[in-house]
C-alpha cells in the first residue's frame, strides 16, 4: 500500500493511529478464523483446512456480492466455508480419516474448485470483477477525536463484529451447556459418550462453526478489504490464524491478542521499509513471527486432551 513510509523516531500520532488502524483491519480475518479454530479444536477436531475454507469463502462471497450485494455475498461466503467444513467433518469425524490428511485435502480441493468456478462464472481463473462492499460505519463520538479518527471512522462492520465475537465466544464456550459439552468431547469423548452426549453432533458443530467463520473471514478479504476476488489473496492466513489460536492457548481472548500481534506484524511489513534491507525480508515478517511464536509457545500452550484424536465407540 504505502511502502514509501519510513518508520523513524518522531512519527506523528495520526501516522501511528493510521498504522494501528491498518493493523486492526489486517487482524480481522485472522481473528474470525482463529475464533472458529478455537471452536473446532476445543471440540477435538484439528482443522488445517481453514485456509481452503477461507479461499472458498473469499471466492463465493465475491460472486455473491457481485450478484446479490455485499450482505448476501458475505452470508454466501460463510455458508461456502461451512460446506467445506462439512466435508471435513464427514471425512474426519464420521469416517475417522486422519484430520491432517483431510485438512490438506480440503485446501487442495478448495483451490482447484475455485479456479474452475472462477473460470466458469467470471471468465477468469484468477480474478473477479470489482464487487460492492458494506457501507462503512463510524464509532459515534470517538470518531470526532482527530488522533483516533483512522481507528474509529470509516470501519467495515465486520471489524466490529469480529471483536464483539470475542466475548461472545468466551461466553458460549464457558457459560452455555453447548460450550461445556463441546469442550467435553474435545477432552474425553469416551467420558462424554457414557454420559449420553452426542459426540459426533458436538464435533460436527465445532467444525461447522470454524467453517462459517473462516468463510466469513475470506469474505472480509474479498468483499470488504479488496472489493474483488484475487487468487492467492488469503496468502496462508488460514495457517497463521491456526497459529494464533495455538499461541492464544485455545481461548478466544488469547486468540484475539495473538491475532492482533500477527495483524500488527502484517501491517508493519507492508508499511515499513528499512534502508539497505530488502523489502522481501520485511514482508516475510509475519510468517517468521508465526514460526518463532509457535516454537516458543509449544512448551506453554496446552491443547485439549483429545484434540486430533478420532473417536470410535468400542465394545458393542
Amino acid at each position: 500500500m504505502h511502502p514509501d513510509l519510513i518508520l523513524a523516531a518522531g512519527v506523528s500520532s495520526p501516522a501511528i493511529a493510521d498504522a494501528v488502524a491498518s493493523a486492526i483491519r489486517l487482524t480481522t480475518p485472522l481473528l474470525l478464523t482463529a475464533l472458529g479454530a478455537v471452536f473446532t479444536e476445543r471440540g477435538g477436531v484439528v482443522n488445517i483446512g481453514l485456509e481452503g475454507m477461507m479461499i472458498f469463502g473469499a471466492f463465493w462471497s465475491a460472486w455473491g456480492a457481485y450478484t446479490y450485494g455485499p450482505l448476501a455475498g458475505l452470508a454466501i461466503g460463510a455458508v461456502a466455508g461451512a460446506i467445506m467444513a462439512l466435508v471435513h467433518a464427514i471425512v474426519s469425524v464420521t469416517f475417522r480419516v486422519d484430520q491432517i490428511v483431510s485438512g490438506v485435502a480440503i485446501n487442495t480441493l478448495a483451490y482447484g474448485l475455485v479456479r474452475v468456478a472462477s473460470q466458469a462464472l467470471f471468465h477468469s481463473a484468477t480474478t473477479s470483477p470489482s464487487v460492492p462492499s458494506l457501507p462503512r460505519i463510524d464509532v459515534p463520538v470517538l470518531d470526532q477525536i482527530p488522533a483516533l479518527q483512522p481507528l474509529m471512522a470509516n470501519l467495515s462492520p465486520l471489524i466490529v463484529f469480529a471483536f464483539v465475537l470475542v466475548p461472545v465466544s468466551w461466553w458460549v464456550l464457558n457459560r452455555t451447556v453447548f460450550g461445556l459439552r463441546l469442550r467435553s468431547v474435545g477432552e474425553n469423548p469416551l467420558a462424554a459418550d457414557t454420559l449420553g452426549i452426542n459426540v459426533v453432533l458436538m464435533r460436527y458443530s465445532g467444525v461447522l462453526i470454524s467453517g462459517l467463520l473462516a468463510g466469513l473471514a475470506g469474505g472480509y478479504l474479498a468483499v470488504e478489504q479488496t472489493s474483488m476476488y484475487v487468487e492467492g489473496m488469503t496468502a496462508g492466513r488460514g495457517f497463521v490464524a491456526l497459529a494464533a489460536m495455538i499461541f492464544g492457548n485455545w481461548t478466544p481472548v488469547g486468540a484475539m491478542f495473538a491475532s492482533l500481534l500477527f495483524g500488527l506484524a502484517d501491517s508493519l511489513s507492508i508499511r515499513v521499509t528499512i534502508p539497505h534491507v530488502p523489502y522481501q525480508f520485511v514482508n516475510s515478517l509475519p510468517y517468521i513471527l508465526t514460526i518463532v511464536v509457535l516454537a516458543g509457545a509449544v512448551g506453554h500452550a496446552r491443547a485439549p486432551a483429545a484434540d486430533g484424536v478420532p473417536y470410535e465407540r468400542s465394545g458393542e
Partner: protein
Amino acid sequence: MAETPLLTLTGITKRFPGVVANRDINLAIQRGEIHAIVGENGAGKSTLMRIIAGLYQPDEGQIILDGRRIQMRGPRDAARLGIGMVHQHFMLIPRFTVAENIVLGEEHARGGIFSPREAEARIRELAAQYQFELDPTELVENLSVGAQQRVELLKVLYRGASIIILDEPTAVLVPHEVEELFANLQSLRQAGKTIIFISHKLDEVLEIADRITVLRAGRVIGTVPASQATKEQLAEMMVGRPVLFHLEKPPVKLGGPPIGVLEVRDLTVLGAHRREAVSGVSFVVRQCEILGVAGVEGNGQTELVEGIMGLRPVARGKVILLGRDITGRPPSTIRNSGVAFIPEDRQRQGLVLPMSVWENAMLGYHRATEYRRGVFYDLGRIKDRVRSLIRTYDVRTPDINGRVETLSGGNQQKLILAKEMSSSPTAIVASQPTRGLDVGATEFVWQRLLAARAEGLAILLVSADLEEVLALSDRVIVMYRGQIVTEFVPGTLPATTIGEYMLGIRRDTPAPVGGEKA
C-alpha cells in the same frame, strides 16, 4: 432368603468372538446389601457388570429389577432405572472442575445457559448428604486418585442411582484411600443404596461385603455370606484348586561361595526435572538370590531399574554384570548380555498392544539369525517356538495371531515372562511383577521367580507390595528418597520397623547434608 431380591439375573450368557465371557449366570442381589463379585482376571466380572449397567446386551437370559423384566439399550436406560457404574478406568475430564464433571450431560440449565456457581452449589449439597469430602470447584486433575473416585461415585449418585456398581475400585488406591472408600460405601448403604463391588483382593472383600459371589471362567461358582467365608475357601473357588498363601522358599545349596552377578556401584540417576532420583546406590545381587527393593513408590525405584537397564542415562557410578561394565549401554546390549527385564508397566514398556501375540514374543529376538530364512523371517519356525513357549508358560490365548491387547493382564504378564526367560538369562530385573494380577497369576509369577532362583539366577525384585518383597526375597534393601536406608533379611525385622524405614523416620546410613549430594 425370604426377601425378594432387588435385582435378579437368570441365565445370562454373553459371547465375544472366540470367548464366552458369561455363561448361564444366575445371580440375586438383595436390596441394601454390599455384594462382592470376585474372580480371576478374565472370569467375566466386568462383562457381567456392563450388562447390568446397560453397556452390553446379553445374548441370552433375563434381568429382573423389582419384579419387572427390563431391557436396556444403553447406559442412559440403566441410569433411568437407577443403575450406575463406576468404571475400572475413570471416565473423567481432568481439566474440568469436580462440579462440571458431575453435571455434564444433566446440567439442568435453563435456556441452555450453564452457571458454574449453581452447579457447584448443587454438588456441594450432594457431597454433604453422603459425607463425601470433595471441593466442587477444584479441577479434577489436581485430585488424588481416591478423590477422583469420589467424583465418579457422585456422578452416579447425581443421576439418582440406587444400585451402584464399582469395578475393581480398590485396584488404584493406596491403603488409607481404601479405608476412606469403604467408609463412603458404608454411608451409602446406610442411605439405602445397593452396592455391587468387584475385586480380586479377598481380604478386602471379606471386610466390606455382606455376600460374595465367585465367578470362574464365566460361570457362577457360588454365593456365600461374607461372615461364613474364609480366604482359603474363596481362593479355591476362584482358581479351582487350593492356593498357596505361604510360599515354599527352600534354601539353595551352592558348590562354593556365591558369585556376585549383578552389581551396582555408587549409582546416581537423574529423574524428572533433572533432580537426583537415585543417589549413590550400591548393592550386589548374587547367584541363587532374590534381592528385594522395598519402599514407598516414587523413591527412585523406577529410575534405578531404568538406569540399570540402560533406559535412562546414568549420571554417575557403574552397573556391572559378571565383571563386565554395562553402564549406559543400549538396552538391547544389556539384555543380550544376559539380563532379563520385567518392566513395571507391562502395557507400555513390556508389550506392543496392537501387535499379535507371536510378534510380541519375538520382539527382542527379531535380529537372531536362527529365525531367518535369507532376508525373510521363518514364520513357521517362529510360530512353532512361540506355541511351545506359551504352552510352557500357560499363556491362555485362543490364537497366537490375535492382538496382545485382548489378553487379560495375567496372560500378558505370563507372555512377558515367557519371552524374557526363554533367552536363558543370568540375571532378572523384575519391577512390580504382580501388580494388578489376580491370585492365580500372582502365584504363577512367584513360582517362576523362585524356580529361576533355584536355577542359579540373580534376581532384583522391585515391588511396592511389601508382603511380596518379604515373601520372595533373601535380602531386602529399603529405598527412601533415592538412597538405601537399610538392608535386612526378611523375618529379622518387625513390620512396624520396616514401615519406619520406608517413611524415612529411621535410617542406618547417615542422611546426606542438606538433603542432596553436591
